[in-house]
Symmetry: C2
Subunit: 321 residues, 2 copies
């Protein structure tokens, strides 16, 4: 799958991905809160990917990538490295196709994440908690098993799959359309897919990425024009600590309006607001877009802003407040 890494998907790819993955995913609901609208000074619609299978949008990209493999490619299974939602998503996508999934997981990963991967039928390959060890262990696993590598974000098939969330959102809103979309940005798969879908369907629609100021490689890459690959991160938004992907950065540079940054306390406050008003459990990463709206109100005054609540996998024993 590595060879076509820089091939950029279009709306047609996203539409085909949506048809391909439809039997395996939920059409997630939209939710609203009058009180949050009042606080934000705009109309907000929340797309509940925290209610998606595996508790995160990641299953969209993983299913699309796995279903696009030829029978020959798929025969010996798939593999990836992940300490988070992509591992569980790939395990489920592989199980749906009846093939094995090998997930390289750093020994430092939370037990709850490992349990989710095993629960969806994935096989865990332990490794030391360093990037070098992850890549080496993945390489060994690919050689040993003959499995196909399915990367977490830096690939056209993943980007197309993640873009189906925005496609579905625009279709659900129909005439009641949003003029602004915001997603969190980590590796950039969700943001890139959202930008392609939105700018193709509704060229006037603004698309923003939101990230923690404590992990702002997307912001710095976007405004410097240079993809930042080395950065230190320390945010509670554990889904957004990865470096922006190559294909993802290219799409984001072309199609995204801006990247907004938020402080850690703003993320916690947004997470609590979502819990208290929408009654939804979201992970810190998923609260980052709402935090960005509340921190940059003038950008959104009077708009209809749609937010993708990216996931709901949070350790209830370690809530950040």
């Amino acid at each position: 799958m590595i060879d076509n890494i820089l091939w950029q998907p279009t709306l047609i790819d996203i539409e085909q991905a949506a048809l391909r993955i439809a039997p395996y995913i939920h059409q997630t609901p939209l939710m609203r809160s009058t009180l949050i609208d009042q606080l934000a000074g705009c109309r907000l619609t929340f797309k509940c990917e925290n209610l998606q299978k595996t508790g995160a949008f990641k299953v969209r990209g993983a299913c699309n990538a796995v279903l696009k493999l030829s029978a020959q490619q798929a025969a010996r299974g798939v593999a990836t490295h992940s300490s988070g939602n992509h591992g569980a998503a790939l395990a489920l996508a592989a199980r749906n196709r009846g093939i094995p999934a090998y997930i390289v997981v750093p020994s430092s990963a939370p037990v709850v994440k490992k349990r989710a991967i095993i629960g969806y039928g994935g096989e865990i390959i332990d490794c030391e908690p360093t990037l070098v060890a992850r890549l080496e262990t993945l390489e060994q696993t690919l050689t040993r098993t003959g499995a196909q590598f399915v990367p977490p974000y830096d690939h056209a098939d993943i980007i197309s799959g993640q873009g189906t969330a925005a496609l579905e959102l625009h279709r659900q809103l129909a005439a009641n359309s949003a003029d602004t979309l915001i997603t969190p940005v980590g590796g950039g798969g969700l943001l890139a897919g959202t930008a392609i879908a939105s700018k193709s369907l509704r060229p006037q629609c603004r698309v923003f990425g939101a990230e923690p100021a404590a992990a702002d490689d997307a912001y710095r890459s976007f405004y410097s024009g240079q993809r930042i690959t080395e950065h230190t991160v320390n945010s509670i938004a554990d889904g957004l600590l990865t470096t922006l992907g190559v294909a993802n950065f290219s799409i984001i540079q072309q199609s995204v309006d801006s990247i907004l940054r938020v402080e850690e306390q703003q993320i916690i406050d947004a997470m609590k607001l979502i819990a208290s008003r929408l009654k939804l459990v979201v992970e810190p990463s998923a609260a980052v877009p709402l935090a960005a709206v509340l921190a940059h109100k003038s950008l959104f005054a009077g708009s209809h802003v749609a937010i993708i609540l990216s996931g709901g996998n949070v350790d209830l024993e370690q809530l950040p407040w």
Copy 2:
């Protein structure tokens, strides 16, 4: 409103209540979880009244009671005593009709509850945290304002309103019907309304109430045939600490199959399971029915059990784990 306290509503009253309150409430969604089904050994459908306006089913009964008042009765507003969801529900129901709501609130009530009542336009009347003080202050308030008393559960119009949740649930399930319904039981408004709706629509459908063992007046009343009015309670399920109402007890005796009791730790575990798998914030009271299913599996093996998630108003700073 006190005069017809013992009049028992029928399915027709519930159907009329549903039409009456429809413009003012949400049709709440149903949710499912394959993993929770596996744990429980039965098929579970959750009716999400935690996503109802004011975050609880209570707004159904309050709206029905307020809308049934004549123009003359309504003119001087409504009043009640409440430290919980009924206060906020009555405030919103009154605002919808454009009349004042006076809510007698014990000084010990959480700030978050008072804020909700004020947020919906209610006027708070403080009182000492004893039952005598509550009733005396309410009496004074009724005399001073000329407002109508809208009780929290012990009234046919409240019971009819709460019964609309089950009516809506049966209609949403349609041919995919549940053979068992479970609700929490505190004052008994939700359980009585659910029993009337369910036994009228589907006589074979079993209806259970679920309550904390640490506040088991409904259980003891049900099995002794005597309504227990004095009991000490100490449960995290703060919505279920009230004594069973008179009309409610009568209906429950006639139409409910059994009352199930659960331990405090089982309530906490069920609350966490709902948060981790359904990604929903529920208050402890709302987790009691799932706790009952998991604690009494043999009663439900192979059944299709529908649970009313009664509310989602929990203090996020004081989660019980």
